[in-house]
């Protein structure tokens, strides 16, 4: 399995240094570099890397701020981060964020190898976690009707009616077979209501009913798209981690 790594660093030479060190590792595949915090946020959601080598001092959003942002957004696993900095003043904050490591510039090669080792261990741990059943036993049946607001009206829904949900302009679109409910409920709230039923976050902003998945088609860079039954025209994005989990889940069940 390849490790997808992304470098976020504003100094060109420092980027070169990391790129060089990372290309020496056989199991590492480089994603495009980010030169600012903003760029990192954008590239991260696009490439979903396994690890970020994150410089703390960057123009605009700092490394620490960017990392916090990514942590908050994480759905299944927070991104693995190795901070790189010239000075250790942020080590404690980095530790709080459960960063994999904190590398001081200039990089000591032995220290760098140690960081890589830690990184591989953390990735293994993640794999192992994936092996644990995601939802140990989904509720198979039950009355389980619940109410959600639908604009002015209130809709009565049962879990099996919902195909998928996605936020849209501060509202949540809840797609059923023949209509779309626009609700003020958040995705997180809905996910809570549906706890115990076979729903899965395939992506930061998609909650999908596993029972209606028709097929999974690979997209690029390890990500995929899902097509649902009865809704052939709609492609739902699946992040790389989510894809792995999805496969594991189906393997266990089947």
């Amino acid at each position: 399995m390849k490790i997808h790594a992304m470098i976020a660093e504003d100094e060109p030479m420092a980027r070169k240094e990391l790129m060089y060190l990372l290309t020496q590792e056989d199991d590492v595949e480089l994603c495009p570099n980010a030169e600012t915090g903003e760029q990192l946020l954008q590239l991260y959601s696009e490439y979903d890397p396994d690890v970020i080598f994150l410089d703390i001092h960057m123009p605009g959003i700092s490394g620490i701020e960017a990392a916090k942002h990514l942590m908050d957004q994480a759905v299944h696993f927070p991104p693995l981060i190795i901070f790189t900095s010239a000075y250790d003043e942020y080590a404690i904050q980095a530790f709080d964020m459960e960063a994999v490591d904190y590398l001081l510039k200039p990089f000591d090669e032995i220290r760098f190898q140690k960081a890589m080792k830690r990184l591989r261990n953390r990735l293994l741990q993640q794999e192992r976690k994936l092996m644990e059943p995601y939802y140990s036993n989904f509720k198979s049946s039950g009355p389980a009707k619940f109410l959600i607001d639908d604009g002015e009206r209130t809709a009565v829904l049962s879990p099996e009616m919902i195909y998928y949900a996605v936020p849209h302009k501060r509202m949540l679109e809840v797609h059923t077979k023949d209509r779309v409910i626009l609700s003020r409920i958040t995705l997180q709230e809905l996910e809570k209501k549906l706890y115990g039923y076979p729903f899965f976050r395939t992506h930061r902003s998609y909650l999908v009913n596993l029972n209606y998945i028709k097929e999974i088609t690979p997209w690029f860079n390890g990500t995929s798209n899902i097509t649902l039954k009865d809704m052939e025209g709609i492609q739902i994005p699946v992040s790389r981690t989510a894809r792995k989990m999805l496969f594991k889940m189906f393997e266990q069940n089947g």
Binding site: D10, E11, M13, A14, E35, P59, G60, K105, P106
Partner: protein
């Protein structure tokens, strides 16, 4: 009786004239200030005793109820005659001014004289004087808060001694009752009045003296204040010239000179031909003044020790001016005659010496404070920003592989930069050229690190002007641009550093095209350390403080936002600082 009264008043008039002369003696002052020692006690007892004897001599001799003769009493009188002495005036004054001991001493002296004169009533005459002196002295204790007893009180006190005298006469010589009848009242009247007038006289003398002292003090204060600008001068010769001119203008002196411990710095007034700056200090008295840190007075030519034959100085006052308990300067007042030195001159010289010393101390404390502050700030500035250092090392580490030649170049630049920073601690001023090298080294490193983000352009005259400036004043301004103005600029950042000569001013300008300063910070950024901005938050404040403390308010930083965006920080230095 009327006759006797008139005669007594006449005689007392004479006595008062003598008393007036007495008040003009310098030693008289010590009585007024009640500063006594054994020697002075004896002297005063003697003087007032003699005054008492004069009183006796000014008295009259009674033969029965008639005045036997009007001449002064000098010889011993006959057995049946009575000496009517006026000595009590002197004794009462002695007691009132000098206390019981002086009073009694004077009383004994004049008493013995009276005993020797003999005549009827010799016991009473001899006893009354010491007794009066003692009693007057003890009475004076009630008035110890007042330096001189007010005339009215003195008048009252003066009534009693003649009364006591009459008592004694009647006790020891009961047959003198007729004489007592006749002279009693006139004696009481004349004595008490004379005492009152005498105390009034003393009061006047005292006021005179106080006025003189106050005047001298005020003059000393004024001169010391006027001397302040000269004392501030760094150059000792400039300071000495200024002081000399000032003192010559303000005081009536033949000449004045200012010297340090070794040589004459300036001399004004007579004798400029041979008392010249640069001459060594050779007078014994000057060395004594340096040694003891006390004012010395030369009262003769020999003490001035001038080798020049036509030198007209006969007296001088040498005033040491001290700083931190060490003599820094000697100011010498020269006089043509010894008697030109009056007590007022001495008071003035003493006061002036102390005031100038104080001012010198205050000034040196002030400048010491400034220097310590500057050293502190430089020390702070010399602390290399760890981010800068380690990022540069990281850059070099990469360059070793990517571009070894450049790695070498940047290593050398870092060495320049750090060497300059190390020297920063010990040098308050450096040549502008060195400062430019420092800026250059910093620029090269920053450019290599952020080649994608920003460009730095450095304009300076081909020949960098030969001026000294506080070290590391320009580089922090550039650093500030990177840390703040261009902090969030990911590309196309631009920093311009301009050094230019404008008339007698050297201008340094640093501009960027970044975000500029927020309005609320713009005004404060140079005035106080902004601690919420890491690293260079204190940078501008630090530079501003050092510029002001070393070169004055006109060298302060000017910060403004540019209309086209970005900010500009500049300062200017006058060329005269070259020295």
């Amino acid at each position: 009786m009327k006759e006797i009264t008139i005669i007594l008043f006449e005689r007392l008039g004479l006595l008062l004239i003598i008393a007036f002369v007495l008040t003009r003696f310098p030693g008289f002052k010590s009585l007024l200030y009640r500063e006594f020692n054994l020697k002075m006690l004896l002297v005063h007892s003697g003087v007032f005793g003699l005054f008492g004897i004069a009183g006796t001599m000014a008295g009259i001799v009674m033969d029965g109820e008639t005045i036997s003769h009007f001449e002064f009493v000098v010889k011993a009188v006959e057995k049946h005659q009575l000496v009517v002495s006026l000595s009590l005036v002197a004794i009462v004054i002695a007691g009132l001014l000098g206390g019981p001991i002086v009073g009694m001493g004077a009383g004994i002296v004049s008493g013995i004289h009276l005993l020797m004169l003999g005549g009827v009533g010799w016991i009473a005459n001899g006893l009354v004087n010491p007794l009066t002196g003692l009693l007057a002295g003890l009475t004076a204790r009630f008035f110890s808060q007042e330096r001189v007893i007010p005339p009215l009180k003195a008048l009252f006190i003066g009534i009693f001694p003649p009364v006591l005298h009459m008592h004694l006469l009647l006790i020891f010589h009961p047959d003198t009752i007729e004489i007592v009848n006749k002279i009693g009242l006139p004696l009481v009247l004349s004595n008490s009045l004379a005492i009152a007038i005498f105390t009034a006289m003393i009061t006047i003398v005292l006021k005179e003296q106080e006025n003189e002292a106050a005047l001298a003090t005020r003059r000393a204060l004024t001169i010391a204040e006027e001397a302040l600008p000269f004392l501030k001068k760094d150059h000792p010769k400039e300071m000495a010239h200024g002081l000399c001119n000032l003192l010559m203008n303000r005081l009536k002196l033949a000449a004045v000179s200012v010297t340090n411990k070794q040589e004459v710095l300036a001399h004004k007034g007579m004798g400029e031909d041979h008392h010249q700056p640069g001459q060594p200090v050779y007078q014994m008295l000057a060395y004594e003044a340096i040694e003891t840190k006390e004012m010395k007075i030369a009262a003769a030519r020999s003490q001035i020790e001038c080798q020049h034959k036509s030198c007209q100085f006969e007296a001088a006052i040498i005033i040491p001016i001290t700083e931190a308990n060490d003599v820094m300067l000697l100011i010498t007042f020269y006089f043509k005659k010894a008697h030109h030195i009056r007590p007022v001159e001495l008071v003035l010289a003493q006061g002036l010496g102390q005031l100038l010393s104080n001012q010198l101390n205050v000034l040196s404390a002030e400048s010491l404070k400034l220097h310590i502050r500057d050293a502190e700030l430089r020390n702070l500035q010399a602390q290399i920003n760890p981010h800068f250092l380690f990022n540069t090392l990281h850059l070099i580490a990469t360059l070793f592989r990517e571009d070894p030649k450049k790695a070498r170049h940047i290593t050398v630049q870092l060495a320049h930069y750090m060497r300059f920073n190390l020297k920063l601690v010990s040098n308050p001023l450096v040549p502008l050229e060195k400062e430019c090298d420092h800026v250059n080294a910093y620029m090269e490193i920053i450019q290599a690190r952020f080649s994608n983000r920003l460009k730095i352009i450095f304009h300076h005259p081909e020949m960098i002007p030969d001026v000294n400036i506080p070290p590391s004043t320009i580089q922090p301004l550039v650093e500030n641009c990177i840390q703040h103005g261009l902090r969030n600029i990911a590309s196309d950042g631009k920093i311009e550093v301009i050094i230019q000569q404008r008339d007698s001013l050297l201008q340094a300008i640093v501009r960027d095209n970044g975000i500029g300063f927020p309005e609320d910070i713009l005004k404060e950024v140079t005035k106080k350390p902004l601690t919420n901005h890491q690293n260079s938050g204190i940078g501008l404040y630090n530079v501003n403080q050092r510029l002001i403390s070393l070169l004055g308010e006109e060298a302060k930083l000017h910060v403004r936002n540019l209309p086209e965006g970005g900010s500009e920080i500049s300062f200017q230095i006058p060329f005269k600082v070259q020295a």
